[in-house]
């Protein structure tokens, strides 16, 4: 492997940061240069991600085997407490890395319309991309935590400065919720650090892979009550990010107030970090507790599906509707994960990937109409289908993908979740399947109110979707369709790792 291949993860993570630093050096008034630098700095990681997609060895599992990770880089960072720069990719992280690279690039392009303080916006955005990438590649808990927290700052400013009318409230609410969750994670991290020892060196370590080896745990941390508390600490930290009911209340505010591209990233990537964290950290380190809490997790998933859908139905704001649809869709991930079957786990990961694509489309589309009409009231439109047929085509596509129409990625993911979890939680899955009806209902109802029926004369001259916007949407649409028809491309990428994860968790029963 050449230099680029062996350092591919580091490059993907830090090139955006470098781009951000460059942007700060661009002289005043050169907005086009800023946009150009941002586009390049987010396009290179995308190219690298595509390269990674091709050279990734799909037979290696990763998860708890250090030698089965790919593109590994491991350097000592702070020797006296044994913090390492330890990164690598496996089947759990690769789809997320791809998603992050793609959505970040599209979001940069989608943000070209920003007029206010574009320099700060782009610099912060690129910092955010570094944080997201870093979170998905880190295999050292400390490193993971640092990247996880680094995301908060740019997100806070991006919502707070460039957001909608209630931006301050939304920004601080997002920040406080996530910080409260992550300090719990910090405590768990330190507790793990002091109560495990690396058998090879006899020292404490932050390596997640060592934590997964139960033999490194000392007697204190083997106690069942202790493990429950630690697991809950992690779970709450991740659940806030997902967000799971009842920790979801930051999400509608943040999504609604954030500028379009930031909503895309928030829903497309940040929410997945919660479920990713569970797969990467909670499940393999505390498999016994994961099994113990499987049913409550599944119930929370169901609540998310149905409650999210019902809330979405009640919204009058299109963006809020999409935001609640995310709450609903993330419930499927949890249900699939809680089943602890290979199919359910793959379904959950698939849903993470697919929802990233679909929800990104939805937020872009909502942004398009908001840019033109300057409001998002579902009842404030009507009959737009006649005026903007191409736009309507896109949004219909996205809505159908979101409600799980066969042939699109969402359907595949949801079916896998159902098939994987049905043998385990029969009643719950039946209830969840009923939830699909609500999901379909709010989508169709919104579609009908906005695009069908008599034309609202106020919008008779509404501008059609432009080329730049189509540039953002088309790749997503193609991928949604492609994955819907031929899901094996994505499934092959992650199945070996996820099967191993399930085996690891199941081994304790």
């Amino acid at each position: 492997m050449g230099f680029f291949d062996s350092h591919i993860l580091t490059l993907m993570t830090f090139i955006p940061l470098l781009g951000g630093a460059l942007i700060l050096c661009v002289p005043k008034g050169k907005d086009d240069v800023i946009k150009g630098v941002a586009a390049v700095a987010s396009f290179i990681p995308l190219l690298l991600a595509v390269r990674m997609f091709y050279i990734y060895d799909r037979t290696m599992a990763g998860v708890n085997a250090a030698d089965q990770f790919q593109f590994v880089e491991r350097y000592s960072w702070i020797p006296n407490i044994n913090v390492e720069y330890f990164v690598g990719a496996d089947g759990i992280s690769v789809p997320m890395i791809l998603l992050t690279a793609l959505l970040s690039f599209l979001a940069v392009i989608g943000s070209f319309g920003i007029e206010k303080k574009i320099r700060g916006y782009m610099a912060l955005f690129l910092l955010l991309e570094t944080g997201m990438m870093g979170t998905f590649i880190a295999l050292d808990f400390f490193l993971f935590y640092v990247f996880w927290e680094i995301m908060l700052l740019p997100m806070y400013f991006l919502i707070g400065v460039w957001g909608g009318p209630r931006k301050e409230y939304a920004a601080i609410k997002f920040f406080l919720y996530t910080l409260a969750g992550s300090v719990l994670m910090l405590i768990v991290m330190l507790a793990l650090y002091f109560n495990t020892t690396d058998p090879a060196t006899g020292k404490h370590t932050f390596s997640l892979i060592h934590y997964m080896n139960q033999a490194t745990h000392n007697s204190w941390i083997k106690g069942f009550d202790v493990r429950i508390l630690l697991w809950l600490g992690l779970f709450i930290g991740f659940a806030i990010k997902v967000p799971l009911f009842p920790f979801h209340t930051w999400l509608p505010d943040a999504h609604v107030e954030a500028p379009t591209a930031i909503s895309v990233i928030l829903a497309g990537v940040l929410l997945k970090m919660g479920t990713y964290g569970m797969m990467r950290i909670s499940f393999p380190i505390f498999p016994d507790i994961t099994v113990y809490f499987a049913v409550p997790m599944a119930i929370l998933g169901i609540i998310n599906i149905i409650y999210g859908a019902l809330c979405a139905m009640a919204q009058s704001d299109l963006k809020k509707l999409v935001a609640y649809s995310s709450v609903s869709h993330m419930g499927f991930c949890l249900l699939g994960m809680a089943a602890l079957t290979p199919l359910g786990m793959v379904g959950a990961a698939m849903q993470m990937f697919s929802h990233g694509l679909i929800t990104a489309m939805l937020f872009f589309l909502v942004g398009v109409v908001y840019d033109r009409a300057h409001h998002r009231q579902i009842d404030g439109f009507g009959g737009l289908g006649v005026v903007v047929p191409i736009y309507t085509g896109y949004i219909a596509f996205a809505f159908f993908a979101s409600l799980g129409l066969p042939g699109m990625s969402g359907f595949i993911a949801e079916q896998m979740v159902f098939l994987g979890s049905f043998p385990i939680f029969r009643t719950l899955v039946i209830i969840a399947a009923l939830g699909i009806v609500f999901v379909a209902a709010f989508h169709l109802w919104a579609l009908q109110r906005v695009f069908l029926g008599p034309l609202n004369p106020k919008y008779a001259n509404l501008e059609e979707i432009n080329k730049r916007e189509m540039f953002c949407l088309t790749p997503l649409a193609i991928l949604v369709l492609f994955v819907g028809v031929w899901p094996m491309t994505v499934v092959n990428l992650m199945s070996v790792s996820l099967v191993r994860l399930v085996d690891l968790v199941k081994a304790v029963i």
Binding site: N80, A171, Y193
Partner: protein, 492 residues
Amino acid sequence: MLDNLASVGYFLPEFALTATILVLIVVRVATKDPQSVAFPFLSLVGIGLSILLASIVPAGEAKGTFEGMVAYDAFAVFFKVLTALAAVIVVFMSMDSREMEGRPQVEFYVFMLASLIGMFLLSASTDIVMLYLSFELVSIPSYLLAGYVKGKVQSTEAAMKYVVYGATASGSMIYGFSMLFGLTGSTQIGEIGKALATGNLPVVPLVLACVLVAAGFGYKIAAVPFHMWSPDVYEGAPTPATAFFSVAPKAAGFAVLIRFFYTVFAVSEPGSSVWRLSTEVDWTLLFAVLSAITMTVGNLVAIKQDNVKRLLAYSSIAHAGYMLMGFVLLTPAGIQAVLFYFVVYLFMNLGAFYVVLVVGNSCNGEDISDFRGLGTRAPFMAVSMAVFLFALTGIPPFSGFIGKLYLFAEVINRQIYWLVIIAALNSAVGLYYYARIVKSMFFDVPESTEAIAVPAIPRALLVLLVAPTLILGVYWEPVARIASNSIRMLAF
């Protein structure tokens, strides 16, 4: 024990400061200009010299110098350099302060240097008489600094409050000392420790004595419930003085707190965390509760503040609470965490005060609303302030996070989970009020959009304060090593 003459070689840093004070007074007599630039300049030279002399102690380390009054050990050197660095930064801050009508007069520097000598001695004292004297030497010039602005009512009120509280605290402390002396027959803290080790002393007076002494120290570090003076003093005193109070005396207070209790109570084997007397009184629990209350009260009250100086005063109470977490265990790792925290705290807290000073100079106010729109009016300053505030909150990649990490780590290692959970929740509370300032700077629309010019010197100084706040958040190994080498105390 070294006699006085043999000890002189160790006294060079203090000599340098004393000489500077004398030179300042002479120069004042010789010059016409009461606000001459020579005063801060000479102070800087003197403090710089004392840092140099303290950090490369020519005679090496020694205990029992001046007939057992002070110890020259790594621990003392650490706090000397730390407090002196704080003084250097404050001298720079003082050079342009609207409150003090430009540059302060010579008295300001003389008081500060005198207080600094007190801190040098306080962090090295191994005898309760010396400890008391240096405690007063820290305090008395501080009262004068707080009341430096003569015309301002708040400033005078601040000085008055400081005196009254200070007198009460030192009164209670010396009462405690007298009981300790009566019980053990020695003024040497090492000897007191040995007497306690025998275990046949009456418990009730002993506990009472320790509580009284702790109250005195608690006042100096502004721990709840001895914190009442600090918000008023911080708000009323001129900003450079406030910045000085928020770091230097607090550091010296922690130094003496740690040295006293560690020497007197901790069993001298390395790594042990057994408090003597712990059979009768659970000292760990007592101080852990004190720590939890201090951080919680500091943070909760800070939420309601509109004056940034007052807000930072409560925030520094909260930070004293965090640092007490490292103290409660009396373990080397805990002490190391406190030392490390002081290094990061020095830069982030002084940095925050510095921005307050510059904003106060140009906007005529210190309220959160005066920070409105700073993000567009003075972007560099606003970004620096945001860095300091987020570092104070304790989020990566800033130095404050690493400081908290070490503090949390030791408490978790000793499995006092309730304390660390309270501290963690406090961090989230802290974010709320720090973010209020950030919000005001970046999200709110300013009344005037006119750019605020930041002259070159403040700009350079800000860079010097921001840089360590950022760098220590990413690479802190050298400082951690210094901190772990500096826990060596020679008093037994």
